[in-house]
Amino acid sequence: MTGNSFSVSGYGPQRAGWTRLFARDSLARRLDWPILLSAIALSLIGSALVYSATRNRTELNEGDPYYFLIRHLLNTGIGFGLMIGTVWLGHRTLRTAVPILYGLSVFLVLLVLTPLGATINGAHAWIIIGGGFSLQPSEFVKVTIILGMAMLLAARVDAGDKQYPDHRTVLQALGLATVPILVVLLMPDLGSVMVMVIIVLGVLLASGASNRWIFGLIGVGVAGAIAVWQLGVLDEYQINRFAAFANPELDPAGVGYNTNQARIAIGSGGLTGSGLFHGSQTTGQFVPEQQTDFVFTVAGEELGFVGGGLIILLLGVVLWRACRIARETTELYGTVVAAGIIAWFAFQSFENIGMTLGIMPVAGLPLPFVSYGGSSMFAVWVAVGLLQSIRVQRPMSA
């Protein structure tokens, strides 16, 4: 059974725009509203947190306290537009464009290694566009790896030829993922590499690939991690992050400063926090990178357990609904894409919040929707668009 016969469903007689949008079986009715509303809520909470973290950072905001707020809202708007575009195109249309998108993203990643690339916080992962904007291609690679692998893995299953992807297909899919992962590893953007490896794992799991591949991949991941550690590929700052994670008391003024101050900020929040814009750790700028990787500390300090818990809950809603979408869609392609997005969002959120809480080592990863950063914002909203598209195009009877 293929899903092609359901490609365009529910197109009734032409009605007025507004009513048509919300008519029975309309696109808007079939959207997954919990995901959409949660994503919007997370983005708006993020803008407040980013504003709180940056309004006093004169060395960053060029004297304009709203500099980051405006850009964050702008990024959210663009991301929202990209989501609409993705839904409008549909994930299946995109399926045909995967080779182009994949090629483009790998090209951009390679561009980072040329003199056009820029180093921010130890990771050579950015392309400076000019006008104060920069691009982080590894964020887009996360999307194209998901789409590319899903395309390869689901092709023969969705065509009804096979029940599970065969070894050859799996090998092809892994090859497709390995190229950009190796490039990102060279940057070195270890955080993104970790996310991508988890995405690959999630995609393979959902595709129904043989258990041998799954455990093999986990084994290779562990061996690779050990090799990276042993071979001294890591920079000193990365080793220090692990050392600080292993021993939180270590050098609170130096290596452990960031995690220590982050924990103090969150811990001091208590149940309800000190109130938005009233956190002394935040106002005092004790936590570096607070608008991006450590944005959760603002929530922890100023909004307390209530605010921090709300963010985790909203992420949970997105992931929960995404799981439902993955389970309920008719084609394996949609399932695999959704699973890849779940793996991505789940791991990145866990790593980001976990490092501020001191249960994960520090890695430069943004918190989806909440952290400041254009590339990340665009990528996660495209992912939301993909989820909506998968949801919208499922059969009515499901």
Partner: protein, 757 residues
């Protein structure tokens, strides 16, 4: 595998999707649990850590309270200096870290730019002085000697000097009204130590690193009251230490003012007369040593007899207490603490101890009466008294025949007391007392008179003196017997013989010990303040008052006044009758006894102002004699001593007389001129405190000591060559100084001449 669900997926995929969902949920659950742990369970601890992170204290020093004399004249207060300070937090906000501003400031102050920048930098291991070792949030003083012109320049062009302030600040000043520096009584301040800072850190009055703490004298004794409470402002700061808000502010509370019983004018007279007496003594030839008296140190105490309040307390050698203000220089410090200057920081009135000599005889008299010898009995004042082959001579081998105890005090007869002490020693069992407590009346009396213990004066580091009783002898012998037994020789030199004897029986009370002790010699040590307390008690009917310098503590706003009431530490063990008899005998000393040539025979109006006195000339082995003079009237007790100064009435007499002249306004002819009297009766009331807390004070103009002497000029002269009626008796044993009488006469003459010129 036929059971393919409608969604088109195999059970394997479905199961794996469920696994993913469970994994995702558990990850989120982990985050939530950890968040709860940090924020709810450990939240308080982190909140404390956070507040330590971002709160900085700026401490504003409290103005130290003044020390005033009994009439309100400040003897230690604060002067306002213009202090120019730089705020590091402000300077660091500038692009060049304030370099331009500091350079400009250096131009205004006439300093080198480097000098200013060095003062403002923070001290660390690599940075040598000058540097700032206080809190970086504290404004850092660049100079405390800015002129009003410079201050105005800075203030008027505030926009040119961001972060720079020019403000008046209080700096300690010892005013020396009328020349009375009162150095040892006031004490001094010195910078707070790291230890003290750490200790006071969490109290409600933390120290500044630039703080000064009272180190001796009244400054130390009343440090807590004078200090006040520093104001603390807590600022919230960011990670670079920039101030982002004010958390809370406690304003500084100025310290209390201390009103003392010191009268600055009398203090000046006492200091001046003490110094003059010592200068005069140094011109006198000492027959015993064959050189002039050294008069190396001395002290005088003027005390209210009925309360124990100290009106004046002078110690010599002395120093300028202002040397400590603004940090003492290394040179000054070495000088003040060095041997060459003979330790001017010591307050010899409470820290100098020496044998009392004959002024101790009031204790022996009381002891004899207590032991059952009637005051009016007949006691042989022979020219000498021998015990076991050892001859104890009366001073200059004078003999008065049988006299009573009163007369023995008047003429300071040693042999009377030798006899009494010896017979008591025998009654107590001699060298080996029988089991059971010996009576030891003579030693018990000394303890009852408060000797061998602190008087409890409100000044730090008072010494106790020593009563050489059996207990002390035993412990002293145990501490020294090894050395004595090592150096002692039976047939060696005098010192070796003494060591030999001490080694054998130094722990036992020998006849000679008690005999010498009875006239205040031997190992007996007293301080001038102890003797002032004793003679004050005889004057006031028997109460031993704790001497006090502080009279009242007045809060800065004048609203709270707490008076320091006189307290006593005992009663004299003397009956009213005996006390009256002793009082009469001591008046006899001034009218017909050893001190008569200083008082009754030198124009003192004994009728109007009954004077009581006792002279003492204590022998110190290897040194010249110590001059002691203890006197009292109805209201005052004056005790003076000069180390290596000569005889009691000889060296100290003129000075004590001049102090009384000043107190009562007595001129040389014995006339009392109330307008010349500085303090005919003790100052009872406190100075007037105005509603704003300030205290009215009369001006002290000129030099009271010199004015006092001038006021006596041109008055009728009393008979200058009158013969002293009795002999001053240096207590001891071996060297009756036969030439003393002539010397004394010559000195008296010279002192007359000095007064006249």
């Amino acid at each position: 595998m036929t059971n393919i669900p409608e969604t088109g997926r195999t059970p394997r995929v479905q199961i794996r999707l469920v696994v993913i969902q469970i994994l995702v949920l558990s990850l989120l659950g982990t985050l939530g649990g950890r968040l709860w742990y940090l924020q709810i369970r450990e939240g308080d601890a982190y909140a404390r850590e956070a507040s330590g992170n971002h709160v900085q204290q700026v401490v504003e020093p409290a103005v130290r309270g003044s020390i005033l004399d009994a009439r309100g004249v400040p003897i230690a207060d604060n002067e306002t200096r213009l202090v120019v300070s730089a705020s590091r937090t402000e300077l660091l906000k500038m692009a060049d870290d304030g370099e331009a501003v500091l350079t400009k400031l250096a131009g205004v102050l006439g300093m080198k730019p480097k000098e200013v920048m060095d003062k403002v930098r923070l001290c660390d291991a690599q940075t040598p002085q000058p540097c700032w070792n206080g809190s970086p949030y504290q404004p850092i003083p660049v100079t405390d000697e800015a002129t009003p012109r410079q201050a105005l320049q800075i203030r008027e062009r505030a926009e040119d000097f961001p972060g720079i302030t020019a403000e008046p600040q209080a700096v300690r000043r010892y005013t020396s009204p009328g020349g009375a520096n009162t150095a040892q009584v006031l004490g001094y301040l010195s910078p707070v130590t790291d230890e003290e800072i750490t200790k006071a850190q969490d109290t409600d009055s933390p120290y500044l690193r630039s703080d000064q703490v009272g180190r001796s004298g009244l400054e130390r004794e009343y440090d807590k009251q004078l200090r006040g409470k520093a104001g603390v402002t807590r600022y919230e700061v960011d990670n670079l230490g920039r101030v982002i808000g004010e958390a809370e502010a406690d304003p500084a509370q100025p310290g209390d003012n201390l009103v003392t019983s010191i009268d600055a004018r009398v203090q000046r007279v006492a200091e001046y007369e003490l110094n003059e007496a010592m200068k005069a003594a140094r011109k006198q030839y000492d027959d015993n040593t064959g050189e002039n008296y050294k008069a190396d140190s001395g002290s005088v105490v003027v005390m209210e007899a009925k309360t124990g309040r100290v009106v004046a307390m002078a110690s010599n050698p002395t120093y300028d207490p202002n040397a400590w203000v603004g940090g003492i220089s290394a040179g000054d410090y070495a000088q003040l603490t060095g041997k060459d200057s003979n330790y001017p920081l010591l307050n010899r009135a409470i820290q100098g101890q020496s044998a009392p000599g004959s002024i101790f005889k009031v204790v022996s008299t009381a002891a004899a009466v207590e032991a059952g010898y009637p005051f009016n009995g007949n006691y042989d004042c022979s020219s000498s008294y021998s015990v076991g082959g050892q001859v104890f001579q009366n001073f200059e081998s004078q003999s008065y025949g049988p006299i009573d105890l009163g007369r023995a005090l008047e003429v300071s007869c040693d042999t009377v007391f030798y006899r009494l002490a010896h017979s008591e020693w025998q009654k107590d069992g001699g060298i080996n007392p029988e089991k059971g407590e010996p009576n030891d009346y003579f030693y018990q009396a000394a303890h009852d008179f408060g000797l061998g213990a602190e008087t409890g004066i409100d000044l730090p580091n008072e010494v106790t003196g020593r009563v050489p009783d059996r207990e002390w002898k035993q412990s002293y012998w145990e501490a020294n017997k090894d050395a004595w037994c090592k150096t002692g020789k039976k047939d060696g030199s005098y010192v070796e013989k003494i060591a030999y004897e001490n080694c054998l029986e130094g722990n036992k009370m020998r006849a000679g010990d008690e005999i010498n002790y009875s006239i205040g010699q031997g190992d007996t040590l007293v301080t001038p303040i102890q003797m002032a307390t004793v003679y004050g008690a005889i004057a006031n009917g028997g109460t031993l008052y704790d001497p006090t310098v502080g009279k009242a503590i007045v809060s800065a706003d004048g609203k709270n006044v707490s008076e320091i009431e006189p307290t006593s530490h005992g009663k004299l063990p003397v009956s009213k009758k005996t006390l009256a008899e002793m009082d009469e005998a001591l008046a006899g000393v001034a009218t017909r006894g050893t001190a008569a040539w200083r008082f009754a025979q030198d124009g003192w109006p004994q009728e109007e102002i009954p004077m009581h006195a006792k002279t003492g000339t204590a022998e110190v082995y290897g040194k010249q004699t110590t001059s002691w003079f203890a006197t009292y009237t109805e209201d005052y007790t004056v005790v003076m001593n000069i180390s290596q100064g000569g005889t009691g009435s000889g060296a100290s007499g003129p000075a004590v007389r001049n102090i009384y002249d000043a107190l009562y306004g007595v001129s040389d002819d014995g006339e009392i001129n109330p307008e010349n009297a500085l303090l005919p009766t003790p100052q009872k009331s406190l100075p007037k405190i105005k509603t704003d807390g300030s205290i009215t004070a009369p001006k002290v103009k000129g030099d009271p000591a010199k004015e006092q002497r001038a006021s006596q000029q041109g008055e009728a002269e009393s008979e200058p060559t009158q013969q002293p009626a009795a002999v001053q008796t240096p207590a001891a044993v071996q060297t009756p100084a036969t030439g003393n009488r002539d010397t004394r006469r010559a000195r008296r003459g010279s002192s007359r001449r000095r007064r006249r010129t």
